[in-house]
Symmetry: C2
Subunit: 254 residues, 2 copies
DNA sequence: TTGCCACGTTCGACAATGCTAAACGCCATC
DNA sequence: GATGGCGTTTAGCATTGTCGAACGTGGCAA
C-alpha cells in the first residue's frame, strides 16, 4: 500500500479525538494523546482552525470541532444518491407503519444513519442522522452484515458488546442469524440493543445487485411485536419499501 | 501571520470544491481546479479517502464527499452549547407561534443553521440544519450583522445578491436597517429572500454580552403578517425566546 | 503580593516529508 | 487495433513539516 500524507492523517486523528472526547480538549491533551510535539499539534490545529474545522474557545484556549464540518456533512447528505431516492418511500413507510424509519449505510465498524423519519405522532424525538449503530445487535446492522462482505468482515472483527440480556455476542450464533437473514430477506432486533425496543430492516440493492444500505423501522415492543414476534404486516411493509428503493436505484426486481 | 500547513489547506480546498460541485469530480478536474499536479492531488485524495472524508465511485473513479464528514458534523451539533441550551425553548416557540423555528450562528460569509424545528403541522418539510443563509436578506442574518462586528464586516464585504424585488442591496440602506435592528432589538425579512415568505429574528447573547447567534421564525406572509407588517405577538414570542436562551447561557437580563 | 507551574504560542534548524514531472496500465471510443 | 483520456505509480529533489527548547501569560497557592 502506498503511503499516505502524514499531516493529513494526524489532522484526521485530531478531529476524531475531538469528536470522541465529550468536552473541549487542550493543546497539551491533544499532543500527548497522539504522541506529538506540542508545536506540531499546534501547527495542525492552527490550520484546521483557519479552515473552520476546529474552533478555539477564546477564554480557555481549548479546542473543539468547527462549524465547517457541519456544513460539509450536510452537503454529503445532499449528494447521497441512495438517500435521495429513499426520501419518498421512507415517508410512506413511516405513515403506514406508524413507527420511526431509519436508513443506514456501512461506515467503518458500524451503521451510519443517513436518514431518519420521525414516528408520526406529536411526541418529542431527536434526529439521529449522522449517528452510528452497531452491526451485531441492530436490524439495520444485521442486514448489512448479511449482505455486504465488507460489513461481514467488520462484524467478525468487532467486539460485539452486549447491550441487553438478549444481545447475541457469540460469533457462531451471529453467523446463524446472518444465515437466517439471507434466507428470509430481512433481519430483526428484538430488544437486543435497547430494552423494550425492537426493529426490522431489509436490504437495499443497487443496479449491480450489491447491497448499498438497509432500511427499517424501530419502535416499542408493545407496538411492533405480537406474541414476542415482530408483526408480519410491518415486516412486509419494510421489505416493500426496500424493494421500491432498490428498484429506484436501478436494481432489477427479478 | 504564521504559515499554515500546505497539505491541509489543499485538502480543505478539495473538500470545499467537492461540496460546491453538484456532481462527483474526477481527479483531473480537481487537480486543474486547484492548480496542482495530478499526483499531488491524488496523494491528498488517497489519504482523505482512507480517513473516510471522501469516497470514490468504483465505476467511474470519480470522487465525492465521504461519510465521516457527516458523522463529525453531527458530533459538532452534539457539542454545540448554544444549540443545547436552545433546544427546549425553540420547541415552545414553534408550538406557540405555529411556525418553523431556526437557530443560526455566523459562519464564514453567512448564517449557518444549527437547529431547525419544523412547523407544527403534518406537512412535509426538509431539515435545513447545516445549510447557509445570506446575511443581508434574512432576519437571522440581519440580527447577526447588527450585533456582531465580525458579521457586520462580512456583510459589508459580501456581494448582497438580490433574491426578490424587495431585497435590500444598497449598503446605505442596509446600514439603516441594521441601525433600526439594534434600536428595536429584532429584525424582519419581509419577502426579501423568498417571495411569499417572511421571518423575524432576535439576538442571543452570552455571559459576556456578546452576540453568539440568532433565533427566529419563518413562514408564509399570509400567516405571519397582517397589513404588510409582521404580527406583533410573533415578534414578542421570538424576543422572549431569545431572552430565555440568553439567560440560559449566563447573560444577565439587565 | 509573590512565586510558581502549566498552558498556548513562537522560534530556528534539521531532515524527513510531501511535492513535481514523467511514465505506466487501463478502459472506452473511434 | 490505434488513440486519447483517465486514475495510478514511480523516483528524486528540495520544499515542508517536524521537533526541542525557549517565550509570554494566566491562574493558583503559599
Amino acid at each position: 500500500m502506498a503511503k499516505n500524507i502524514q499531516s493529513l492523517e494526524r489532522a484526521a486523528a485530531m478531529l476524531r479525538l475531538l469528536a470522541g472526547g465529550e468536552r473541549r480538549l487542550g493543546l497539551s491533551d491533544i499532543a500527548s494523546a497522539l504522541g506529538l510535539a506540542k508545536a506540531t499539534a499546534h501547527g495542525i490545529l492552527r490550520t484546521l482552525q483557519h479552515e473552520g474545522f476546529v474552533e478555539q474557545d477564546p477564554g480557555s484556549g481549548r479546542y473543539q470541532l468547527g462549524a465547517e464540518l457541519l456544513r460539509l456533512g450536510t452537503t454529503y447528505l445532499d449528494v447521497h444518491e441512495l438517500r435521495a431516492r429513499a426520501l419518498v418511500w421512507t415517508d410512506d413507510l413511516a405513515r403506514s407503519s406508524g413507527e420511526a424509519v431509519y436508513l443506514g449505510v456501512l461506515h467503518q465498524h458500524g451503521v451510519l444513519i443517513v436518514h431518519h423519519v420521525f414516528r408520526p405522532d406529536d411526541s418529542r424525538q431527536v434526529l439521529e442522522v449522522g449517528a452510528m449503530q452497531p452491526l451485531h445487535s441492530t436490524a439495520l446492522g444485521k442486514v448489512l452484515a448479511a449482505t455486504d462482505p465488507v460489513a461481514h468482515a467488520e462484524l467478525v472483527d468487532a467486539k460485539r458488546e452486549p447491550f441487553t440480556s438478549r444481545t447475541i455476542s457469540d460469533l457462531d450464533d451471529v453467523e446463524r442469524i446472518l444465515e437466517l437473514t439471507r434466507a428470509q430477506g430481512y433481519a430483526v432486533d428484538n430488544e437486543e440493543t435497547l430494552d423494550g425496543v425492537a426493529s426490522v430492516a431489509a436490504p437495499i440493492y443497487d443496479r449491480r445487485r450489491m447491497a448499498v444500505g438497509s432500511v427499517g423501522i424501530t419502535g416499542a415492543v408493545e407496538r411492533v411485536c405480537r406474541d414476542g414476534e415482530l408483526r408480519a404486516e410491518l415486516i412486509a411493509a419494510v421489505r416493500d419499501t426496500a424493494r421500491s428503493v432498490s428498484r429506484d436505484l436501478g436494481a432489477k426486481p427479478f
